[in-house]
Each structure stands twice: as structure tokens, then as C-alpha cells.
């Protein structure tokens, strides 16, 4: 480990520690916003772990998220909550592996369409099972408060960053960067591209399922339309791209301004929320095609150039 890496680790640990203090401010409003930011940070960062290097755009977040929510909803009365969060992670990883094996041979737009359909597929399967078993409405009534959920999410974020950092340093991360650059070359170099992609796809799958499981007590009442909302998948992609999917910290710099923008628009223009959000998407794509990471890099380069001249 180099000195720079140790410094980054310490800084990251400090940042997480500061983030974990938010519930102590006692402001429910900021906690609510922070919880939203933490949730999307976890989802967007884990999404970018896979989609960043491989350039496979996955719209399956809602499928895994809903799977996790339903794991808690269905198992809540028989198993302790903590085991369900872990179980959700395992189920998410298994589903991701199955999906990966079946579809990661698909490329480009076919993969995107499949992942979009996956949320609907999982939703229909779960609804069917619920309907067949005559299972009534799912209520997750717990003593878990927003404070707890927030801390869980911050902990999960720490884990995601750690995993992302380790993958970046590993042979797997190296293999994926090669796949992202040219899959053909990667295969010729002896990399088992399918295995690498499936392994990595399991990370966002498990993380999104765990996130869904963690948020189930917040929603209390679990219904398919709410657990599998396709909106979630798109939000995650937009936030990750707004930040920049090429860096581990990229999605974070997208999530924070986006969550604040979303909140500002929702509170200021309650009658035009969706309209203005759509307009903001267009503006963002037009003005910031490379996301905030691209913007930061450009600014940095200009600064260093200027230094070079003087």
C-alpha cells in the first residue's frame, strides 16, 4: 500500500464517520434527505462497479431492490430481521448470477432491454406466488427507525466502497478494464470474460437486494407497484452517469447534487415536479456529457496547464 492509498483510506473513513453523525443532529428533515442520498449512493456506486468498466447499462436495480423488499416482507413473521437482510443479499447474488449466465452474452441494447424486463418478470413471479398462496398484504411493523436505517445504509456504503476498492486492485478489476476497452482482446489474452462479468454483476445484485431489505421497514406496507417501481432503475443510472461511472467516488458526486435538486424541485414546484425533472435531465446531459467527474478533470487539467505555463 502506498502512502497516497493510506491517505485516501483515512480520508474515506473520516468522511464516513462524519456522515454517520447526521442522525445526532436530531433533524428529521435532513435525516430524510440524507437517507435518500445514502440509499442512492449505495445503489449508484454498486451499479457503477459493474457498468462503469464493462459499459453494460443495467436497468435491473428495481428487480433486485424489490426482491430484497419482498424477502423481508414474506419472511418477516418467521425469521429474525437480520437474517433476512443477509438472505436478501444471497438471493440477490444468486439471481444476478443466473441472469448474468443467461444474458451477459447479449450485448448493447439487448442487455439493457432484458434487464428492464427483469424487474417486471420478478414482480410477476412474486405476485403469482403471493396469489397462489393466498398470502395477504405484507406489513413490516418493526421498531426500526430512520436513524437505524440510515446507519445501516452508511455501513453498507462503506462495504461497497471497500469491495470496489479491492476489486479495483485485483486481477478481476484489471480483467474488467480490459473487457471494457475491448472484449475481443480480453478473450484472446486468456481472460474468462463471461466468468468475470458474472462475478462482478453479482455485486450490484446483492447490494440492491440488501438495500431493498433495509428499506422494507421504512415503507412498512409492501406492494409490488411500490417495491418494483421501474423509476428506481432509471434514477440510479441517471445519478451514476451524472457523477461519472469511471471512478469509485464518481456516483457520489452525482447523487448528492441530484438528490438536492430533486428535493428543491419537489418542494418548490409541486405541480410540475416531473416536468421540471425531465427538463433538468436534458440540461444535465447537454451541459455535462461526461458527468461531474469529467467536469472536475477538465478543471484540474486547466489548472495544471496554467501552472505549467507560469
Amino acid at each position: 500500500m502506498t502512502a497516497a492509498e493510506i491517505r485516501t483510506l483515512i480520508l474515506a473513513a473520516l468522511a464516513l464517520g462524519v456522515a454517520a453523525l447526521l442522525p445526532l443532529t436530531g433533524s428529521g428533515y435532513w435525516l430524510g434527505l440524507g437517507l435518500n442520498i445514502a440509499m442512492f449512493t449505495v445503489l449508484a456506486t454498486s451499479w457503477a462497479l459493474f457498468s462503469g468498466p464493462t459499459h453494460y447499462i443495467s436497468l435491473a436495480t428495481a428487480a433486485f431492490f424489490g426482491l430484497g423488499t419482498y424477502t423481508v416482507g414474506l419472511g418477516f413473521e418467521t425469521l429474525p430481521y437480520w437474517s433476512l437482510v443477509a438472505l436478501a443479499g444471497i438471493l440477490g447474488a444468486v439471481l444476478a448470477a443466473l441472469v448474468g449466465l443467461a444474458t451477459l452474452r447479449l450485448s448493447g441494447v439487448y442487455f439493457v432491454i432484458f434487464t428492464l424486463g427483469l424487474a417486471e418478470l420478478v414482480r410477476q413471479v412474486i405476485t403469482w406466488a403471493q396469489n397462489m398462496s393466498g398470502q395477504k398484504g405484507l406489513y413490516v411493523l418493526t421498531d426500526i427507525t430512520e436513524d437505524h436505517i440510515y446507519w445501516q445504509l452508511v455501513g453498507l456504503a462503506a462495504l461497497v466502497y471497500l469491495v470496489g476498492w479491492l476489486i479495483g486492485r485485483s486481477r478481476l478489476g484489471f480483467a474488467l478494464r480490459i473487457i471494457g476497452d475491448d472484449e475481443e482482446v480480453a478473450r484472446h489474452s486468456g481472460i474468462d470474460t463471461a466468468r468475470a462479468k458474472v462475478l462482478l454483476f453479482m455485486v450490484p445484485g446483492a447490494v440492491a437486494a440488501i438495500t431493498g431489505a433495509m428499506l422494507a421497514p421504512r415503507y412498512v406496507y409492501i406492494e409490488p407497484a411500490l417495491a418494483f417501481t421501474p423509476m428506481l432503475s432509471f434514477q440510479v443510472v441517471i445519478m451514476a452517469l451524472l457523477g461519472g461511472a469511471g471512478r469509485l467516488w464518481g456516483p457520489l458526486v452525482g447523487v448528492i447534487p441530484f438528490a438536492i435538486l430533486w428535493e428543491t424541485i419537489s418542494s418548490t414546484f409541486p405541480n410540475q415536479t416531473m416536468l421540471l425533472l425531465g427538463v433538468s435531465f436534458l440540461v444535465i446531459v447537454y451541459v455535462l456529457p461526461k458527468g461531474f467527474v469529467g467536469l472536475i478533470d477538465t478543471v484540474r487539467r486547466r489548472l495544471s496547464n496554467r501552472e505549467g505555463w507560469t
Binding site: G28, Y29, N36, G137, R218, Y221, N271
Partner: protein, 405 residues
């Protein structure tokens, strides 16, 4: 581009401040009472909220301000409504309720729309001590929810009552000879409420001696319902019961007309009571049973319906509209009785009896209004309540005789 944005912003500001503006215009010194409202304006439930939820909030605020506001400890104070769109997303509902409680410092918050969004917001209402007089929140977990969220009130009824009253009405029709047999065809939309209702009804039908000759479900959003109706018809039932949602309530009925489904009782659940349903099917709607109902002959309802149409340009539906309005009347009477202290208002809600458009309403030890409408029927172009759990003015049920022409 610039001019357009400016126009849009101006329009947005004008819209969002319409009620605030109206409220402020008449007030002199007293600050308005700030009342928050969160419900879908976009997303899957926006259509339902646009029929039963938002118009009543507008109507109520207009009426209250037209009479000079609410009497709070001897001072007349106007009401100002702050509206937020939750995009039919529970995360947004939670955020908006939190925003109302902490940023806008609303004096009271009107309960959100639909079961899932109401229950998701309940912990926030509870944390900040806001009474939550919920309407479109139908559940069988009233006891658990009320003990967990002591300020949550239930006005519209429970899942099991809606299922059991359909069984009761059909049993009565059979005993009166209106149904000439025991055969029931039952279908349900495979989604939360539809599954709950079907699961509750299945054993009840059997207990009552009915034979379920056809029992199936279809996914939410199914466009082609003709196989469902055809198969139901083949089973030659005496009664057809569909635990359906708004789009399929219309879709099933259209198919039933096309297939000329001959039954003596025909029931579809949610949205059968919408004026749009009566308008869509006209004379063919005659005799169709559905969830909900009101007593359309009561003076209180007639007066309310006229005011609703005058204020919003649309007729109220024959079920949750009036209950939504009643929930606001309850809030209004509680505020006038004990002032703006939310704890006192909640305590008053548990004890007092309120005079509303539906008649008197009070809450039991589980904050549950026990007297509500459960089944209604289109009769001569009006959707009349035919079954209730303690409301006055139920009409007698009629046999469905064909689909007219």
C-alpha cells in the same frame, strides 16, 4: 426559450399559490392555519387521486375560507393549503410529510392517498404527533397499526368487511330467490388489494354454501380480459364477482357486455362507483354492484355533491369522495373544539362524535370508524349504497337483468 421558462414558472407559482393567495386575501391580522397535503399528482395513482382526493381538499379549503376561516380559541383563522406531489412513491411521501412537519411547520397534515402511501407515512405522522385521519387506507391490520401509530384513524372500512358484505348481499339475494343457484365465478387482479379481498372472500363464500365454479386471477395491467370473461361465462355462474382495480373494472365490464355474460349479480370492486363508470356504460351499468356506496338521497350528500360540482367542475364519486370530505369535516370540528394543539386534537378525535356528510362518525378503541358503506349498486343512473355496517339509507338490491341495449 427564456420567455417560455418564465411563463412556466409564473404559471407554476400562480398555481401553487392559488389557495394560499385566496386564503390571505380575506384575512386581516390572524395568521392562516397551515395545512399540508401530500398525494399523487403523477404516477400510477394520480388518476384516482384526481377523482377522490384533491378536489375535496380544494372544495373544503374554499368553503372554510368563504365563511371566514376556522374558529380557533375565538379568533377566525383562514386555512392555507400546501400541496406536494409524492409521485406515487412511498419514499417521496415520507420526504414530503417530513418537509411539511419540519420545514413548512404545518399545523396539520391531511392523510396521504392509498393504503401503501398512508402506512409508509404513518411513522412520520407519529413521530411529529400529527393526527392522521386516513381515508383510502383499507387494511385488516387496524389493531396492529393503531397500537403502533396511536394517532392514525381509519374511516373507509376494512378489507374483510368489504369481502364479507359482498358474500352477505349475495346470500340475501339467494335467500330471496333473486339468485337461482349457488354458482359463483370469482376473479381477482393479482395485486395487493385484489389478492387480499379474494383471499378473504374464498372461505366466506364456501361457508355461506356457495360453490366457486370459476376462480382465477390476472396480472395488474392486463389489457385483454376476454379470456377471463369467456371462461367465467363457460362456467355458467349465477353471480360474477371481480376483485378488480380501476383499469380492469372497466375492461371486465366491457368484455362482459361483448360476451353477453348472463348473471343475476355482477360485481366489480374499485372504481365501479366513479361517475365515469356510469357515464361510460350508461344504461348497461344498471344493476352492477361495486365496492363502496353512499346514500345519494340524504340532504347532506346532495348539498355536498352540488358544492363539489360547482367548485371543481366534476361530480364526486359515490364512495371515497364523500369520506375524504368527511375526514376534513372531522379535522375542522376537532380544531374548532380544542384549538391547534395536535395532541389535544388527537385525543378529541378518539372521544367525540362528528357530524359529517356521511352522518355521524366516531372512532372505536382502535381508531376505527365502524359505520361505513361496503357495497353499492347502479340503480337508475345513480350508484346507491346497498350494504353498510351502520349507515342509514341503504337501498334494496336488484337483480342484474341483462345488459340492455
Amino acid at each position: 426559450m427564456k420567455r417560455r421558462t418564465t411563463l412556466k414558472m409564473t404559471a407554476a407559482l400562480a398555481l401553487s399559490s392559488m389557495f394560499g393567495g385566496a386564503a390571505l386575501a380575506g384575512s386581516h391580522s390572524a395568521d392562516p392555519i397551515v395545512i399540508g397535503a401530500v398525494a399523487p399528482k403523477t404516477g400510477p395513482l394520480a388518476g384516482g387521486a384526481a377523482v377522490t382526493h384533491w378536489p375535496n381538499i380544494r372544495l373544503w379549503a374554499e368553503q372554510v375560507n368563504a365563511r371566514g376561516g376556522l374558529n380557533v380559541d375565538g379568533t377566525m383563522r383562514m386555512v392555507e393549503i400546501i400541496e406536494y406531489d409524492d409521485q406515487t412513491n412511498p419514499g417521496e411521501t415520507i420526504k414530503a410529510v417530513q418537509r411539511l412537519a419540519t420545514q413548512d411547520e404545518a399545523d396539520f397534515i391531511i392523510a396521504p392517498f392509498a393504503t401503501g402511501l398512508n402506512i409508509a407515512a404513518a411513522p412520520i405522522f407519529a413521530r411529529y404527533g400529527y393526527p392522521q385521519i386516513s381515508v383510502s387506507n383499507i387494511t385488516d391490520q387496524v389493531e396492529d397499526l393503531a397500537s403502533k401509530f396511536p394517532n392514525m384513524f381509519f374511516t373507509l372500512g376494512s378489507t374483510s368487511a368489504f369481502a364479507s358484505d359482498v358474500v352477505r348481499i349475495l346470500s340475501e339475494m339467494r335467500d330471496a330467490g333473486q339468485l337461482t343457484g349457488n354458482r359463483i365465478a370469482m376473479v381477482n387482479v393479482a395485486d395487493a388489494f385484489g389478492i387480499e379481498l379474494a383471499a378473504a372472500a374464498r372461505p366466506l363464500f364456501k361457508e355461506a354454501g356457495f360453490e366457486i365454479v370459476y376462480d382465477t386471477s390476472y396480472p395488474l395491467g392486463t389489457q385483454d380480459l376476454s379470456p377471463v370473461v369467456k371462461a367465467a361465462k363457460d362456467a355458467a355462474p349465477n353471480a360474477f364477482v371481480a376483485w378488480s382495480y380501476p383499469p380492469d373494472t372497466f375492461g371486465l365490464t366491457e368484455q362482459a357486455i361483448i360476451e353477453d355474460l348472463q348473471v343475476e349479480a355482477y360485481y366489480t370492486a374499485v372504481a365501479t362507483c366513479f361517475p365515469a363508470f356510469g357515464a361510460r356504460f350508461g344504461a348497461q351499468a344498471e344493476g352492477i354492484l361495486g365496492a363502496g356506496g353512499v346514500n345519494p338521497d340524504s340532504e347532506a350528500f346532495k348539498e355536498y355533491a352540488a358544492a363539489h360540482e360547482a367548485a371543481t367542475g366534476a361530480k364526486p364519486d359515490y364512495w371515497a369522495s364523500a369520506t375524504t370530505y368527511a375526514s376534513l369535516q372531522i379535522l375542522e370540528q376537532a380544531i374548532e373544539a380544542v384549538g391547534l394543539d395536535r395532541e389535544a386534537v388527537s385525543a378529541h378525535l378518539k372521544e367525540a362524535t362528528f357530524t359529517t356528510v356521511l352522518g355521524d362518525i366516531s372512532f372505536n378503541e382502535n381508531n376505527f370508524n365502524e359505520a361505513f358503506w361496503t357495497v353499492g349498486q347502479w340503480q337508475d343512473g345513480v350508484f346507491r349504497g346497498v350494504a353498510e355496517t351502520g349507515r342509514e339509507g341503504a337501498s334494496s338490491v336488484r337483480v342484474k337483468s341483462g345488459w340492455g341495449s
